[in-house]
């Protein structure tokens, strides 16, 4: 088997007297969707915040590709190709799809934007990711939630992103939107990217993931291949009924 692209090992993180992580380890591979599941407060968000450099762990190591970090900043994480997809924090609603896609990586000559080339590139990129946006000159604020998620992802791909983390990506989305986002997530993995998804929705987890990582009380208590397990089994692990 190929080596894990992300190896977070033995992470500890306290918030005052709350031990959010107590020696959590997680591995994520290229070309696969890893679902992280667990009850509220299990430490899922804390774990991915550490991997994407938003929080620094009290102890533990993060391996990304060939590099080892004992702590990350968001900038270092982005340079290493790791980013969390936050659609609402990442996009400028009044700006068009192209400007959003190329934010920080504009194609320009002597400070002048090469709008035509950017538009063509944007259309190509969106098409390669199967993100359907008919008109890239419209403001992002006019798009659906699923399309917005797509634009946020496409920008990260364009920046050379390798690892995409989604924390409850479909919370508060309708069925069509949700399906669009799930398709996108699957697509990213099929393109060879590393994808990590946090979700509470079991059917969704079983629909898109290749592996499931179950967290409980700040630890990863089990890693499973999705095809080798069942919803009942995973739910019993989450609640502690399985006795692990």
């Amino acid at each position: 088997m190929q080596e894990a692209y992300i190896r977070a090992e033995n992470l500890y993180k306290d918030f005052g007297h709350v031990q959010a992580l107590r020696g959590a380890s997680v591995f994520a591979y290229e070309g696969e969707v890893l679902a992280i599941v667990g009850d509220n407060g299990a430490g899922k968000s804390t774990l991915i915040k550490i991997i994407s450099g938003v929080l620094t762990p009290d102890r533990g190591e993060i391996h990304i590709g060939n590099e080892v970090f004992s702590s990350l900043s968001t900038r270092k994480a982005i340079e290493a190709g790791v980013s969390t997809v936050y659609q609402d924090l990442a996009l400028g609603n009044t700006m068009d799809v192209t400007s959003n896609l190329f934010l920080g990586n504009e194609l320009s000559r002597f400070g002048f934007l090469r709008k035509k080339e950017m538009k063509a590139e944007a259309e190509k990129l969106l098409e390669s990711l199967d993100i359907r946006i008919p008109d890239v000159t419209q403001p992002v604020g006019n798009l659906s939630g699923g399309q917005r998620q797509g634009v946020a992802v496409a920008r990260l791909v364009n920046q050379g992103g390798k690892v995409f983390i989604f924390d409850e990506p479909t919370a508060a989305m309708g069925i069509n939107e949700t399906n669009a986002v799930l398709t996108l997530i699957r697509r990213l993995a099929d393109e060879g990217y590393v994808v990590i998804v946090i979700s509470h929705n079991m059917p969704q987890v079983f629909n898109i993931s290749d592996r499931i990582c179950v967290m409980r009380h700040g630890q990863v208590i089990k890693e499973l291949r999705t095809e080798d397990t069942s919803m009942d089994e995973v739910v019993s692990m989450i609640t502690g009924a399985a006795g692990i």
């Binding site: 400028g92 009044t94 920080g104 400070g111 934007l113 419209q138 006019n142």
Partner: protein
């Protein structure tokens, strides 16, 4: 075509208002459309136009600059003092513009690095500049400049006044910068979502400072025109002009929330406001009504542009 209409519907509305205003006034006064009067309108508009172009950038970025009127007075005074002290006119102009830019830079620095609200920073800057002007000049005007200097305010290139050429040039350059360059793009993006721009690795502070500096420079150029035209640096020159510039910018379709705006709209709005002013004078209606009218137009215009936005967000 559909996209053109969607993006420019408000600007087209402004063009419509402009045309209707011109038609009504030309019927009401036969003198209105004479070349002399048109030139007069453009010449009067020049100062506001230059000022409003700078203001458009600042408002697009979601900030405000209340100090531009005071910068007119301050930079005019600097240029006047230097001219009177025997400094060559063009050098005096250059130094005055540099001072104006430096004031803009300071505004930008205080807003971005010290994280003070731009309303407060520029309000304070306005007060400080006015105070300094009064202290330095004893509230007396400085006058008597060289021909080269006054040429910039009241000279003509062929049949048109220098300020008209200058202001149209600045509007064109401003439009190109806002809509065609990385700087303009970042200006708008920081206005719509500063955090996102920051996260994408854009040096938001640097761009904020650049935008305020541009606005300061525009105010300095307006100061040059005012001073050169009057052949006198008046301590109170430019007082209240910031409000005209803000009104023209907002009427032009720039969003007070930032992230949306266009220079063409600002130019048309500026013309509408100045044409109204001129028309009321021609019809010998008291200029006080003009202020009432400006205020009313502004409210209606913003209401229309906001209701467009509401419609869109309901879909």
């Amino acid at each position: 075509m559909k996209r053109f209409l969607r993006e420019h519907s408000y600007t087209l509305l402004l063009v419509g208002i402009l045309i209707v205003t011109i038609v009504i006034l030309s019927i009401a006064s036969p003198y209105f459309l004479s070349w002399k009067n048109c030139r007069n309108i453009l010449n009067q508009s020049a100062i506001y136009l230059v000022l409003s172009v700078g203001m458009t950038f600042v408002i697009c970025m979601g900030e405000i600059d209340l100090s531009v009127g005071a910068i007119i007075g301050f930079s005019g005074m600097i240029m006047g003092m230097l001219c009177v002290a025997g400094v060559p006119s063009l050098l005096a102009v250059l130094l005055g513009l540099m001072v104006a830019s430096a004031i803009g830079f300071t505004n930008g620095f205080l807003v971005s690095y010290c994280k003070i609200n731009s309303f407060i920073v520029t309000l304070a800057m306005m007060t400080i500049l006015r105070g300094v002007i009064l202290v330095w000049t004893n509230a007396k005007p400085i006058y008597g400049f060289s021909d080269i200097f006054t040429f910039l305010g009241s000279g003509k290139i062929g049949p048109v006044n220098v300020p008209i050429v200058l202001s149209l040039l600045i509007a064109a350059v401003g439009a190109v910068i806002l809509h065609k360059t990385v700087l303009g793009n970042y200006c708008l993006f920081c206005g719509t979502n500063e955090l996102a721009a920051n996260r994408a690795g854009i040096n938001v502070r640097k761009y904020k400072i650049m935008i305020f500096t541009i606005c300061g420079l525009c105010a300095g150029i307006a100061g040059l025109i005012v001073t050169a035209r009057l052949n006198s640096a008046e301590p109170l020159a430019g007082q209240g002009y910031e409000m005209d510039a803000i009104a023209a910018t907002i009427l032009g379709g720039t969003s007070m929330q930032g992230g949306k705006g266009n220079v063409l709209g600002t130019v048309i709005a500026c013309l509408i406001l100045n044409i109204l002013k001129n028309g009321l004078v021609l019809l010998s209606i008291s200029s006080h009504y003009q202020e009432v009218l400006t205020g009313a137009i502004l409210i209606v215009a913003v209401f229309i542009s906001e209701s467009n936005k509401r419609k869109r967000s309901e879909v």
